[in-house]
Symmetry: C2
């Protein structure tokens, strides 16, 4: 199969880890006889440096023409001091989500038995954890009207949802649950928020079309507790944008290494795949960044192309690297393997 | 000293645990020669049952006339099915906060060495944790304008803050930091929300009056990770209402037992003290509920009356009960001690 993949390596360790993911995709392509074409484009701080814009029009064009987007990470310390600055790398990511209508962010949280000692949770708490968070990504308080009074003494943000926005991600989440353990947990704050009550009504209604999926509800404060107390209870967790931002980051650390977690942001016409970790600027250029999250993003991209066997082969190669201890030093201190050695091992194995 | 204390035991195990707290307050009163007068009033489901209103006007009157409020817990399973019902126990709590202008919720999160094995976190992660969350409690998206479109297909909630609302809790948080390890972490989402940018500007400005307090900033998603990864880094955490709801519940479970955590909600004219745990209806009337959180709420109440030594004595009595294993079965399975035995031990010791 012929596929066009937009590469948006971004800032910090982004370029290095995306490089390893491409290595692995090339290995898969040659093994299965596919033809992957890559088109690289700038985003984030590097795009600001080059063009003044964190998401240049030309980058959007590249994304629109591609079958999928492989994203690295964005962010640079020089923008960290002032989150109120007019031009910031994050805006590139937010605009990309909105422009490409990537309305569903999917984040698997899985405890690898090999890494259980690395989890901040006690081993018996984390064992068996295998859930996936479906976070709405283009609505809610992120994109609602913002207001600052003239005297700059009052400010507001509007959290607005329509039932249609809820339904489109709702269908994806129910379908995912059908293919998994058939349990969907909607996280909201329906005892306080009108928008949460809309979520609850809409998802309850939608659930009638998925009678074999068990639908549960959890208030967001309770969900934040349960993820730490008993994470293995979850199968598919569905939630709105802001709650999803918080819970998916909380979920991402319990698994033991953020260097292993990938995510997908999907819409009706395209999808973007990226590691969960940030740009980790301190590690830039040192060949120490863990490339696995980026490689697993590539596996999610293969799934998106319906290349199920290809994705499986790539994931097995990653498992082998963990089993054989061919890992970067974040997973085994003093490990002799760097970013490119781990990437080579996985690509060879795939 | 003569003090009037409003008792709002509420639902579920609320009455039982408040009863033990009163026992301890009486012991303290007789040891130190104080005169505590208690006036009981209904709130929550029991108030709905009695009057149709989760916060009857007469209860508000009792609270207004008291020097402080000792609160149990509210909530009844019969209201759990439908978070959109017109009359609900939670509304009593939200209205009480707003009417009494209890704008600052204070939640200590402390790891007791005796309980470290109970924490869901690995022992070395939780050891040394000792922080306190200052959550804004009467503003933000909880109380902003709510909207539901006529066709019920769109809904919104407004998150609005004024600089004055931020300053009054800000001062309390800085003052707390001055008395502790002199570190204040503001948690916000200033890279996305206008209201968060107002928080950041206002607190930064306020910080100039507290030069010996180190002020840090953390995005809320990162904070949700750090609480699990490295909770001992925090001293005072300051945040807005919704983020505080989520993070304080997350924080409450890492310490090992929610049955031990107390909280205070303070305003300019009065203050309310309550355990973090809910009404736990399954345990109602069984003499198994852990009374310690309620007793530690009473200790916070003593602090509020500037009865520092009294509060210390009561906390030491609680420590003794933990050290000697006079605890309820949530802390030691098979423990022969029930709610009232633990309360008796602590009251005797105090
Ligand atoms: C960078 C930031 C705007 C973004 C978000 O809040 O969505 C990030 O935290 C994420 O989760 O992808
Ligand atoms: C019961 C609910 C409305 C309340 C809140 O969200 O504030 C509770 O979760 C709390 O934190 O006290």
């Amino acid at each position: 199969m012929k596929k066009k993949i937009a590469l948006l390596p971004g800032d910090g360790i982004g370029p290095e880890v995306v490089n390893e993911a491409v290595k692995c995709l090339d290995a898969i392509a040659s093994r299965f006889g596919h033809d992957f074409e890559y088109i690289e484009a700038p985003v984030g701080a590097i795009a600001i440096d080059q063009t003044g814009n964190p998401l240049p029009e030309s980058t959007l064009e590249v994304c629109r023409e591609a079958d999928a987007i492989l994203f690295g990470s964005i962010g640079d310390p020089k923008y960290d001091d002032d989150p109120t600055a007019k031009v910031r790398p994050e805006q590139g990511l937010l605009r990309l989500r909105k422009e490409m209508q990537l309305y569903t962010n999917i984040r698997p949280v899985e405890a690898y038995p090999e890494l259980i000692d690395q989890s901040p949770l006690k081993n018996d708490r984390i064992a068996g954890t295998d859930f996936v968070i479906y976070r709405e990504l283009t609505g809610g308080i992120y994109f609602g009207e913002k207001w600052l009074s003239e005297d700059q003494e009052s400010a507001s943000d509007l959290c607005l949802y329509t039932a249609d926005e809820i339904r489109r991600i709702g269908h994806l989440a129910f379908q995912a649950a059908e293919k998994r353990r058939k349990k969907l947990t909607l996280v909201d704050k329906a005892n306080v928020l009108e928008s949460s009550r809309l979520w609850r009504r809409t998802i309850t209604e939608l659930g009638k079309a998925y009678p074999d999926v068990q639908l549960d509800f959890l208030f967001v404060d309770n969900a934040a507790m349960q993820i730490v107390l008993n994470p293995s209870q979850f199968d598919v967790v569905l939630t709105e944008n802001m709650f999803g931002d918080i819970l998916s980051d909380e979920g991402s650390v319990i698994a033991g290494s953020i260097g292993l977690l990938a995510s997908a942001s999907v819409g009706d016409s395209t999808a973007l795949f990226e590691p969960i970790h940030g740009s980790f600027p301190q590690a830039k250029g040192l060949n120490i960044a863990n490339p696995v999250a980026s490689i697993l993003s590539a596996a999610m991209l293969l799934d998106h192309f319906n290349m199920t066997e290809e994705a499986l082969v790539l994931r097995q190669a990653v498992s082998q690297s963990l089993k054989q201890g061919v890992v970067t030093s974040d997973l085994k201190s003093g490990s002799p393997f760097g970013t490119s050695e781990v990437g080579d091992f996985i690509a060879d194995f795939a």
